[in-house]
Symmetry: C2
Subunit: 365 residues, 2 copies
């Protein structure tokens, strides 16, 4: 028997592929339950519910509005194309629904600010769907990067490098919403660079860079949507740090993250989606030097394993639901942490886009 005073009741707006993953995450999270799903056609929503084995208690709607009108829905998950986020997130907040929105949060910071104004004025929680931030591995590494007194603190960070690439199929490149200017106009910058920018900001404790510069190897499709992008982010205080990011729909799958400090480094190759669900690892190299004659190293990277009881997307739903339940049941204020993370990420996305428009000139933040 579900205790509805503790469980957060989700409605899903749309039947995108990613919604299958988040529906499962809602089922796995102990403090969340799926209670409604909508598509623009009821048939499609019914097929989606059947294919994913949703229980009969899940209400199936033929319009997104019906989810927002459902008094049994506490929160909505919005996996719609990015261009529709502002409309539906603002409407959901207006109906006092908490909003978990798929990344990228919006097409630009102006749109995101409309969403954040709506959630703030309605007292509801906002979070974007950056699942990797909720993996315990992420917290473990953050400790090594950001807590000077921790054992194996890697020291001030000098360099960060990350990639998010995938070899899209011809069908994807012809017709996926992520290559359509009217749907996900940011293309690879929104879908992939969101992660790399987010990881760079995260490693730097969410300090914004002073300049952002696109590199000249970008690719656009015939409609102008970005298919690949490389960029650099520069910080100068308290120490100089450069981050390079490389994102592409045109390359083999990669999710590299390397963080190099003065005393150690951390390397991952699956930072966005861990190789497997139940545990993840990262490589820590600390105090590396060359042996005499420089014919080898004194240490090899240590593979650090981190076990997780729930997959990262379920941990995301759990954290979001914890915040929602606090607001709903205990009168807590919405957490500003997650909206701020989304907004900083969006500001850097905007700056990369602007640098591209300026012919790869540096853009100050």
């Amino acid at each position: 028997m579900v205790d509805n005073t503790k469980t957060v009741r989700f409605g899903i707006l749309g039947c995108a592929n990613i919604a299958r993953k988040v529906a499962r995450a809602i089922a796995l999270a102990p403090n969340a339950t799926l209670c409604a799903v909508a598509s623009r056609s009821k048939e499609k929503a019914e097929r989606f519910a059947a294919e994913n084995g949703f229980p009969a208690s899940v209400r199936v709607y033929g319009s997104y509005d019906q989810v927002l009108e459902d008094p049994g829905v506490d929160a909505v998950y919005v996996p719609l194309p990015t261009s529709l986020h502002v409309r539906w997130a603002v409407m959901a907040a207006g109906r006092k629904k908490h909003v978990l929105v798929e990344k990228p949060a919006a097409l630009d910071a102006a749109e995101l600010d409309r969403i954040l104004a709506a959630v703030e004025s309605n007292g509801v929680q906002f979070m974007d769907g950056s699942m990797w931030l909720h993996h315990p591995r992420t917290a473990h590494i953050q400790h090594l990067c950001c807590v000077p007194r921790s054992a194996n603190f890697i020291g001030p960070i000098h360099f960060i490098h990350s990639t998010s690439t995938m070899a899209a199929t011809p069908e994807f490149l012809a017709s996926d919403i992520r290559v359509k200017p009217e749907l996900d106009g940011l293309g690879a910058l929104g879908d992939l660079a969101w992660y790399c920018i987010g990881a760079s900001l995260w490693a730097k404790g969410y300090q914004l860079p002073i300049t952002v510069t696109a590199l000249p190897d970008f690719t656009r499709n015939s409609a102008g949507v970005i298919l690949s992008i490389t960029a650099s982010l520069l910080w100068d205080q308290p120490n100089q740090t450069l981050a390079t990011i490389h994102c592409s729909f045109l390359s083999h799958t990669s999710m590299d993250l390397a963080i190099c400090g003065s005393d150690g480094s951390v390397h991952l190759r699956d930072f966005i989606i861990p190789y497997q669900e139940t545990s993840a690892s990262f490589d820590l190299t600390f105090g590396a030097k060359f042996v005499d004659l420089h014919i080898g190293w004194n240490v090899k990277p240590e593979e650090v394993h981190v076990v997780n009881e729930l997959p990262q997307e379920a941990l995301m739903v759990q954290e979001f639901s914890r915040l929602v339940a606090g607001i709903r049941d205990c009168g807590s204020q919405p957490s500003t942490k997650w909206p701020e993370i989304s907004r900083k990420t969006q500001l850097v996305v905007d700056a990369v886009n602007k640098s591209l428009d300026l012919g790869c000139k540096p853009v100050s933040l």
Copy 2:
């Protein structure tokens, strides 16, 4: 008993730390023998010979000239500061000595061209001391990158990332020859970026990039010597490739190399100096996709091990000596492969330097 008709007899000009490693490599290479060593003072050369256990047959000289005048020396190894390479390499070639010169080959392409003109007109072999190019792992990976018909060919390369960083001690930063403008004026650009530029060119089959751009996070010491540098290299034919390189005396030790093609990727974290001498490995990821629901990957990277009977620096000496013996004993022409690799690397080093001087503007090659 050494067969002198097959063995190449080396003299070493100078007692730099790296000369200890190469003296050992000469001893390990089956077709090379050390027969002379010189310093600017005979006492220092004698101490160096004693400390390194050189046999009594090794002639010890108090000036570099004496090595060049020694008729029993076929080839010289030049570990002197970069600013002295042109003088001593040209003089050595003029005495018909084959020239193995430590990297960076020269301060700029104009100086290197003087060396290469001298070795060409005197019919002697030239090679720079990029040891990693001689490791069998390097050939193994090159096969995956450059031979379209090979199994696990990673496809056209889209992105290359490499680093060469080390946390220099305060003593190094105060007094090492690599931070002195009058000795190794290229600093980290010569000492470290030589490797990353070389690796990028190597992965691209030694095609030169069309543009080279320094990124804005460079650091110089008070004398103007580069302590850290990040740069990008762009190719546009036959497919677009971007390489990023990051090199620093101010960071934790790293030697990352990642090569990402359309169908696979290769990752190393010790590409310049393998963790250990007798074998090395790299990670190959091929055909990676996400499993259903994107909750994991279909494959994990495969760790490929490559055994080497001799350390890479001995393989370098062996290859150089093979070429020298061919010239000396069989009338072969000097190989143009190694001088061309050095020259292309030097051209890109020059371009990075020029980009820095232009305020990080792109420089065309």
